[in-house]
Symmetry: C2
Subunit: 119 residues, 2 copies
């Protein structure tokens, strides 16, 4: 079936907020704000502790890239995420894939000032 390695399921909630924050180099406060803004929805333990999945972390890295590298504010991030969901396409990655190429990039934001003909 589809659960051969459930320990690697990218949707499995694993990181507590301090860990997630250190992974993405951000203040925990910032992550709580992202959640208030509806940009990330970490799971919760039965006792209300936030648990971030690998997917959540990738999403946060996208937020960081958009805000820190591209200067987009949280309202803009919201629109972009909403458009992605609306279109059912990973439109953001299109910013980094030139022409018709269809890369398999797993959804992680580009490390720095991505290539793609230097944006």
């Amino acid at each position: 079936m589809t659960f051969r390695r459930p320990d690697r399921d990218p949707t499995r909630p694993v990181y507590v907020i301090s860990v997630a924050a250190s992974i993405v180099s951000v203040h925990p406060r910032t992550l709580r704000i992202y959640e208030e803004e509806g940009l990330v929805c970490p799971a919760r333990t039965p006792t209300n502790i936030r648990l971030y999945s690998e997917q959540d972390v990738r999403r946060i890295m996208w937020i960081r890239h958009l805000t820190q590298n591209l200067g987009v504010n949280l309202a803009g991030v919201r629109i972009l995420f909403e458009l992605e969901e609306r279109l059912g396409t990973r439109i953001l990655e299109r910013l980094y894939t030139e022409g018709t190429s269809e890369e398999r990039s797993e959804g992680a934001p580009p490390e720095k000032a991505a290539t793609a003909a230097e944006i």
Copy 2:
């Protein structure tokens, strides 16, 4: 051919900056900033006077809608425009068209906080 009514060509540069500014209810200074930011590219007379077309005005109205109503900043607007061009689709209108409907809306931004069902 394609120029039956050139006097109504939406790409024809017609409005000087003060006129364009009053049409969209914005300070001329703001329009110059939009141009500096690369968000609008009005034509110029041989003597360097800006002339905005109907298309330019619509584009500015989109910028105003995104910034004033949705809170997106200019960096966010830039990304959205870039994505539109990249995808060759009017993605922004998708925010206001529910499901599979394919409206012919001529690219003008919704008047106020339009709800998808009433566009």
